[in-house]
Chain length 315, copies 2
Amino acid sequence: MGVNDLKNVLVTGGAGFIGSNLVKELLKRNHKVTVVDNLSTGDLKNLKNLEISFVKGDVLDDGLKLTHLFRGMDEVYHLAANADVRDGWKHPRTDFEQNTLATVKVLEACAESGVPHLVFSSTGSVYGEALEIPTSEKALPPGQTSLYGASKFAAEGFIQAYAEANKLTATILRFVSVLGPNYSHGHVIDFVRKLLRDPTLLEVLGNGAQKKSYMHVSDCVRGVIDVRGTGKCEVFNLGFNGYCEINDSIKWITETLGVSPSLSYSGGDRGWVGDNPFIWLDTAKASQHGWEPKFTIQESIIETTSWLRQNLVSK
Amino acid sequence: MGVNDLKNVLVTGGAGFIGSNLVKELLKRNHKVTVVDNLSTGDLKNLKNLEISFVKGDVLDDGLKLTHLFRGMDEVYHLAANADVRDGWKHPRTDFEQNTLATVKVLEACAESGVPHLVFSSTGSVYGEALEIPTSEKALPPGQTSLYGASKFAAEGFIQAYAEANKLTATILRFVSVLGPNYSHGHVIDFVRKLLRDPTLLEVLGNGAQKKSYMHVSDCVRGVIDVRGTGKCEVFNLGFNGYCEINDSIKWITETLGVSPSLSYSGGDRGWVGDNPFIWLDTAKASQHGWEPKFTIQESIIETTSWLRQNLVSK
């Protein structure tokens, strides 16, 4: 089945930020889309007026009968996840359940229902504090530094084992942080929220020199749909091939909002336990498969700030 | 706390093959030992006449109150696991539950009860089909090839995240296959069982040219107790620094038993889905920390065959 054939696809977490943007891109290409979402962080308004089948449910709930839902699907995009990296230690079982166990259940349902291909949204967090920067898919993580990264890395391993046993083929995509319409969590929304509340002061976790990488959600979802390997299970980084400092992002955000806050830093080179002071993924492998991001980090941050101003204010 | 101080230690899976040998070595060194074992594959006769506290229970069972059991322990040795690599696909949730989820529960209990150090029995299977042989701890697994390897690799990641967040320190030990007294599963016992039943014929999975590595359980448990790093969480390979072919092992086993079976090969370079045709771990890092195995692979196989003949026959 080629990239341009029309497919029956199912998106878990399809009402979420990346999921809903993926659904729109899949529909643009005329695929038939089913969404499964528990609406815990996703929102039906992200899917307003879209011609899809929607199933409200949690992939962790055996009553959902995933195997039945998956039957006849050409591809499952498994995006449902706990995406909150920073607060892992506030509820230490959540990443394990929502990212690892949930993926194992999705794998079991794929295998039982005969879904030929699984696409999995993983994360650059699996590299921990990479020794090699920019970090390629061939870099060995020196150790997991967050429950989020550990939970996604764990899920990747089970996907690889399923693929090795010919239960399905799979594409694992390791994202940098994603920005754009429907964006719902991360430091840009935190900063914009704080500045809309108090434009005179911005509290920053860490020293602001953390180097982070971002990509626009429209670039991300093109990659999710288009980037495929030829092996049983292939891993690709997806991100803008570069980085900015948190302080750069503060400049772009405050200029876009037209505010000039004084900055208060909590200090240190990490914003929280498990914060990675330098993220920059090498995306050469995805490029070799024809994918390139169109938005720079600066453009992504400015556009997202504008979108947030409009959408946070109007709530 | 130094290596030679007397400690309160707890061994999960302490009635099993490696666990019971570890318990004996810990007692020899005068440590105070508590064993938790669900006796699903472990056996109380492995612990006969030993001065230990024994708790029958499954670490997956929340009713066991692990946190309470762990309180006051200087080290927890987490060996309880499903160790059956080959039959992973017969019950696809087992490795996940008994190896990954169980380790997450052990981590939570360690963190809640303040256990300072966790020792984890991992496996060379996490390397999948390594590109680099002998395989060092710095090799990137090109992909998990078994549910067993995936489940242990997943557990390692959660351990690293706990250590990174200063919930405990940890030692992760990746074993080759282990042989010796109380040995209970793997190809040597399979071959001996078959030959005791019918000394004229031996059916071999694969072509017999698979290259495998083994270590003696007495070498293994010395490593488990003695090998410690200085970081928050360090990984060490433990194994004899070499390999044999399955066909070598057949020669040693049949000579020890005094039988001359005809050999029937199922063919192919792999015995089963996920079988790794070449395992040889580089153990230089453990050597640098003062550990060396005393038994060769041939000695381990011959001794184990003799032990099995005596113990399988007398059952």
